[in-house]
């Protein structure tokens, strides 16, 4: 009798069970992340962030225990107050208040500060950086960087009086960064301590139409489904990639995946609608409202509203003076 599959042999490197060197794939040779890796890591970061949020939402801290409607109103009023504040000292105090609130809400302060400062303020910092120089905002010199002296020339071109960092520029930049950081800190506190479904439902307190609230809630859940789909597209592509295709073909691939995702999402919408109709949905959606505010919620709400309104009044007084 002959063996049926004599031509199929396991390669020697598979039998050894140990790897002598790293797999020489295309991606390992490139240090820079290509579009496939960027997309995959973007999706994983999204899932990771959602899990982190979930972890803090479950903590039994100060903000987690507050009624979501009170919390939403309080944080909106505070952000409004902070966005109108002109005083650097007050902005600093408000930032410290956000850190205190994070501490009592059992949020890891290192994680909280890193999350705030790593993205938006760094971006804001790059934008605001030129303002500190006299080229963009003339003013009193704080630090002189280049001083070629009056009438200095570089060849035929006359050099400007010098490059300095100005006090006015520093104050403007500090105020701008502090305001952005404080507003973002309070906004991040809101979603780190509130379950998304109750956060969306609490929008009804502000008379946001039901259609928007329900769409929001359903949309948030399906984002995870579609994100997983995108991750699978890129994973499948990565697993088949030995050598990158010409850029135009890669771009065409991405565009077609986007088109496919849109078709798929609308088809899913149709199926979800049929499932809803089969369960009795007639277009009139109902929201199960189970909010219950207690005395502590009212006290916190009143305190936050007074604080926010005080900031707004204070900012108006400083304008008058």
């Amino acid at each position: 009798m002959t063996e049926p599959h004599t031509c199929m042999q396991i390669p020697a490197w598979m039998k050894s069970g140990e790897t002598t060197e790293e797999c020489p794939s295309y991606d390992n040779k490139r240090r820079k992340k290509n579009f496939i890796q960027k997309s995959i890591s973007g999706v994983f970061r999204f899932f990771d962030e959602s899990l982190q949020n979930e972890k803090y939402i479950r903590q039994k801290g100060f903000l987690q225990s507050l009624d979501p409607r009170v919390k939403l109103l309080s944080i909106i009023v505070i952000i409004l107050g902070v966005s109108m504040t002109r005083s650097i000292e007050v902005l600093l105090l408000m930032y410290i208040l956000s850190l205190i609130a994070a501490y009592f809400s059992k949020i890891d302060l290192f994680f909280f500060i890193k999350r705030i400062w790593l993205f938006i303020p760094v971006f804001a910092g790059i934008i605001i950086l030129p303002v500190i120089f006299n080229v963009f905002m003339p003013g009193d010199a704080a630090i002189v960087l280049i001083s070629p002296g009056q009438g200095a020339h570089l060849g035929p071109a006359a050099l400007p009086g010098g490059l300095t960092i100005t006090w006015q520029g520093l104050i403007t930049a500090t105020r701008f960064i502090l305001r952005v950081v404080t507003c973002v800190s309070f906004a991040v506190l809101l979603f780190l301590t509130t379950r998304h479904s109750v956060l969306f439902k609490s929008l009804r307190t502000f008379h946001v139409p039901k259609i928007y609230v329900l769409t929001l809630d359903m949309c948030y859940r399906y984002i995870f489904l579609f994100s997983g789909m995108i991750r699978d597209f890129y994973m499948a592509k990565k697993s088949r990639t030995l050598k990158p295709l010409p850029m135009i073909k890669e771009q065409k691939w991405v565009g077609e995946r986007i088109g496919h995702t849109l078709i798929k999402s609308l088809k899913t919408g149709e199926m979800v609608h049929m499932a809803m109709v089969s369960r009795g949905f007639n277009g009139d959606a109902k929201i199960m409202d189970t909010f219950c505010a207690n005395r502590r919620d009212y006290i916190s709400g009143v305190f936050s509203v007074i604080l926010g309104v005080s900031l707004i009044i204070f900012s108006q007084i400083t304008i008058i003076h």
Partner: protein, 244 residues
């Protein structure tokens, strides 16, 4: 494009909310009319798509990559009013759950990305494509121009909103309190970066995705049935008689 809190002063962000509130109400009314009970799941899926489209990285020359906003594509496929709702919902989730874009700047962000891109994109597409067949190359080119123009105009509007801050919000000594750069800096910065870079990615994605949908499932494209019905008098479609 996502403006965070602290960039725009109260005059601007309050005005943007005042502009957006009637637009949100009218968009809800308009969409409710043609979607009826289907509206919630349909809009929710489209909004989820609007959110995740930003996760697609597109390779661009120089070994880097960028991502599209996708509002022009959504407007061409679902109609501009549905795009207002889906983009606003996606932006609200980004703002409330992931801190991307500010709460005070939400009205401005929705105006730029949820109104300007869809309407400029949709009417550009409609004007260029005319009454050509759904799979014609002219429609693909129209989708590309719609994507490019929609995002570029929105970038210009965002640049304008930021650039007027020094004139609107400053101390008695003239020191700016919010975005410190004037229109002479913000407009070119936003327009050059978008016209030469991000809008090209947007154009590419809009065109390829539109071509794919027109080829594989044209029935989902907004106005498709209306356009098919108008051409029915001259040409019969044997594969899909109920459309013609």
């Amino acid at each position: 494009m996502h403006i965070p809190d602290g960039y725009l002063g109260p005059i601007t962000f309050i005005v943007m909310y005042i502009i957006m509130i009637p637009i949100w109400i009218y968009a809800g009314y308009k969409v409710q009319n043609y979607l009826r009970s289907r509206q919630i799941p349909y809009l929710a899926m489209a909004a989820a798509f609007t959110f995740v489209i930003m996760m697609f990285n597109v390779p661009i020359p120089g070994g880097s990559s960028g991502h599209a906003v996708g509002s022009a594509l959504v407007a061409i496929i679902l109609g501009p009013w549905a795009a207002v709702i889906t983009t606003s919902v996606a932006l609200l989730i980004q703002c409330l759950v992931f801190g991307d874009g500010g709460i005070t700047a939400f009205g401005a962000n929705c105006f730029n990305m949820g109104v300007v891109i869809p309407f400029v994109g949709y009417y550009t597409y409609k004007y260029i494509s005319g009454k050509t067949p759904i799979t014609s190359n002219l429609r693909i080119a129209a989708a590309a121009v719609a994507g490019w123009l929609g995002l570029s105009v929105a970038a210009g509007v965002a640049g304008f909103e930021m650039g007027i801050q020094p004139a609107l919000e400053h101390t008695a000594a003239g020191v700016p309190l919010y975005m410190p750069y004037g229109l002479n800096i913000t407009l070119p910065a936003m327009l050059i970066a978008h016209c030469c870079f991000f809008s090209i990615v947007e154009a590419l994605v809009t065109a390829v995705a539109f071509a794919y949908i027109a080829r594989s499932d044209p029935a989902i494209i907004f106005d498709y049935k209306k356009e098919e019905a108008s051409t029915a008098g001259t040409k019969k479609n044997p594969e899909n008689p109920q459309v013609s």
